[in-house]
């Protein structure tokens, strides 16, 4: 009896100690340890639609490697005071919103489009926002054969309020082709007078049908953001043609020497069999002649 009480006392004490342990409480997230960062970026896609992407991630103030994405946070996208749309962040803390190509943006006096991404706050988080300014750049990618040379032509321009195309200058444009794991860069040029061209290399194999996916990209420009244009063209050239092998150990038809050796061996052997059989017929013939003459002799007698 005394021992049972003693045992219960021990167990109870342990439970109480665990409850009052400094690390005994379930961990709660203390948002005050984290600094929230909301960043907005834009990509103009090959179909001229524009993707706005917000990254809403909390970074630990003490340990910068400790990042906590905010999910299910509603982000609203504004162009000036005009609400373009809204999206919620994913488990990675990313919210994406695509604006169609025919969207009429409100521009400022310098021709820039101002877009604001705003998080209006919640019980645990304060409101946050980020904005970007960019000009709506049009990137044209043309793949043409000029004087029997496959040529890549890139044009980059903006359209002002009067509807006039103005070529751009001083922007880094990269032209690349799609590979199995990553893109292969063909040319990197700082565009002048809004256009440039170069001869497409003749050693790009492309896919199994000879199709090549060509990209022209402006990456993270201060004025234009990221702009991507792509086109597919059947300019793939197989450098090493696949040679069909014949008469090998592993092909349908055997090596010629095998046919010859096998035929000679078999001919030699079966010829001897044939010779034996013919000789047997001769023996039989002689035997019949002897039997015939013996029968005739008996008959005469």
């Amino acid at each position: 009896m005394k021992s049972i009480n003693y045992r219960y006392t021990i167990i109870t004490s342990l439970i109480i100690a665990l409850l009052f342990s400094f690390n005994g409480f379930a961990q709660e997230l203390d948002a005050s340890n984290y600094k929230m960062r909301l960043s907005l970026s834009t990509v103009k896609q090959p179909d001229n639609s524009r993707l706005f992407e917000v990254s809403f991630i909390g970074q630990n103030k003490e340990d910068r490697k400790d990042k906590l994405p905010v999910f299910e946070a509603e982000i609203k996208f504004y162009n000036e005071d005009n609400l373009l749309g809204q999206a919620k962040t994913s488990y990675d803390g990313i919210a994406q919103f695509t604006v169609p190509a025919d969207q009429n943006y409100i521009t400022d006096e310098d021709g820039y489009i101002n877009v604001l991404a705003k998080f209006e706050g919640s019980d645990g988080l304060d409101e946050d926002e980020d904005d970007i300014q960019f000009k709506n750049l049009f990137l044209e990618l043309n793949l043409e054969e000029i004087d029997s040379v496959n040529t890549v032509l890139v044009r980059a321009f903006i359209i002002d309020s009067a509807g006039v195309e103005t070529p751009i200058e001083g922007v880094n444009v990269i032209v690349s082709v799609d590979g199995m794991f990553s893109k292969r860069k063909l040319e990197e040029v700082i565009i002048e007078e809004g256009e440039f061209q170069f001869a497409f290399p003749i050693d790009i194999p492309g896919d199994v049908n000879g199709d090549v996916l060509v990209y022209s990209m402006i990456n993270d420009s201060d004025d234009y953001g990221t702009v991507i244009q792509s086109k597919t063209v059947n300019w793939g050239v197989f450098k090493n043609k696949i040679r069909t092998e014949e008469n090998k150990l592993w092909t349908d038809a055997a090596p010629i020497w095998m046919y010859i050796v096998l035929t000679l061996m078999l001919l030699g052997v079966w010829a001897s069999f044939l010779y034996s059989v013919i000789s047997l017929f001769k023996i039989k013939k002689e035997g019949k002649e002897i039997e015939g003459s013996q029968t005739q002799l008996h008959t005469e007698q």
Binding site: S276, E286, G287, I290
Partner: protein, 444 residues
């Protein structure tokens, strides 16, 4: 020597063996037929239920059937080799064993390939082997070799039968009519004239050379079915020669056993004498030493190389198959060597015992070549079940194996009912030569 009288004497001496069947023989034949019928039943069970009734599965795709195939075909090739060699040896004692060797050759080559047919899952596709042969494949070479060898050995056997069939044709007035007709038909009008004899000897001599070469080539091709694969345990440059030696070893063993049984159950002590067992025993001794050397060389080089897969295979052989390995490669070699090496131990019975040990050891040797190797796959087999890894033959396989052996013995006995097991023409040829030599000596 009056030739015709001598032929009549020999025909009279051997006819009882051909025409009369003792009760013991009848009982034995009945027993053999019973075993064969059980085998036929097992075959139909396999045919209708599929290969699931055998022990072969995804891992071990070759089992007792292939082992029997190799065993019998190697027996045939060794028989062909020996009969070809014997043709060129001009000794009196060769006559008594030559027909035994020739019959073993042909029967083994008939029985052996039947086991391959049992191993094939889809017999309805058998003709594909001939319609769509792959010339680069050793299996295609083996099919061609076996078919060619079968035709050659048949012709050779028939050639050696002709003179005896002619003697029996001319001296079987008291025999049943059907037997007389058979002898007349098969004798093809052979009258033992000098021209006929010359022709017959010529083609027999030519075929002797051909079948020796054919036996060696066909042997090697059978070995290459295994050795030309990358499978550890099979991929060996000496497999061709190893198979030849092993085949010769099993062949001489079976010949000794056949001589013993024929001598025991037929009144042929005068013809099959101790000298034959001594000669065959010497051949067995020499070949056992060669076989032992090849076996040692094969396993020693695998062990020394210590390649992972070879090491795994050797581990399997020395654990799961330990006693079989010991019997096949130690007892099967050393017992015959000891018995035949020491003169005091050399008796007819002890030599026959040595031959039995050798033959069993060689069957185990084939088992160890096929099954443990397949149980240690070179490339891992995915999704395999535990019960598929190890092979155990089922009653179906054992029944068919025993049926093959029974068929071999039965056909041997039936052929001995057709022609004498000791060639009468050989006896006459030998006596003719003796007389000729005597005349030459007298002239001198």
């Amino acid at each position: 020597m009056n030739l015709e009288n001598r032929k009549r004497e020999l025909a009279k001496e051997f006819s009882p063996m051909l025409e009369k069947t003792s009760n013991a023989s009848k009982i034995l034949m009945g027993f053999l037929i019973a075993i064969i019928l059980v085998g036929v039943y097992a075959f139909f069970v396999q045919l209708f239920e599929g290969h699931i009734v055998t022990g072969m599965r995804d891992n071990v795709v070759w089992g007792v059937y292939i082992i029997n195939f190799i065993f019998f075909v190697c027996l045939s090739y060794s028989g062909a080799f020996f009969s070809g060699i014997l043709h060129f040896i001009h000794t009196p004692w060769k006559n008594s064993v030559s027909r035994i060797v020739e019959i073993v050759t042909v029967l083994s080559l008939i029985i052996g390939p039947i086991f391959i047919l049992l191993c094939i899952g889809r017999l309805d596709r058998l003709h594909y082997l001939f319609l769509y042969p792959r010339i680069q494949s050793p299996i295609t070479w083996d099919i061609i070799a076996i078919m060619t060898d079968l035709v050659g050995c048949f012709i050779y056997l028939f050639l050696t039968f002709i003179p005896d069939l002619a003697i029996l044709r001319d001296n079987s007035e008291n025999a049943p009519k059907w037997r007389q007709k058979v002898y007349k038909f098969l004798a093809i009008g052979y009258q033992d004239t000098p021209t006929q004899r010359k022709k017959l000897h010529k083609i027999t001599g030519a075929l002797s050379v051909i079948i020796i070469a054919l036996a060696i080539v066909a042997y090697s091709v059978l070995a290459w079915i295994f050795s030309l694969t990358p499978q550890p345990g099979w991929n060996s440059s000496i497999f061709g020669a190893y198979f030849i030696i092993a085949g010769l070893y099993s062949g001489i063993g079976v010949i000794i056993i056949a001589m013993f049984l024929i001598r025991k159950y037929y009144p042929l002590n005068h013809y099959i004498r101790k000298v034959h067992f001594m000669g065959a025993g010497m051949v067995l001794l020499v070949i056992s030493l060669l076989y032992g050397y090849f076996t040692f060389s094969e396993y020693f080089s695998r062990w020394f190389g210590h390649k992972i897969h070879d090491a795994e295979l050797l581990d399997t052989l020395f654990t799961r198959y330990f006693w079989m390995f010991i019997f096949a490669n130690y007892i099967g070699v050393l017992v015959p060597v000891v018995i035949i090496f020491f003169k005091k131990l050399r008796t007819i019975k002890s030599i026959t015992f040595a031959a039995v040990i050798a033959v069993i050891g060689l069957w185990y040797n084939r088992y160890l070549i096929v099954v443990p190797t397949l149980e240690s796959p070179y490339i891992p087999i995915q999704d395999t079940r535990e019960e598929f890894i190890h092979y155990t033959a089922t009653w179906v396989e054992w029944s068919l194996s025993l049926a093959g052996v029974a068929a071999f013995i039965l056909f041997f006995m039936l052929i001995m009912k057709l022609v004498p097991v000791v060639p009468m023409s050989g006896i006459i040829d030998y006596e003719r030569k003796q007389k000729k030599n005597k005349k030459s000596l007298n002239k001198l």
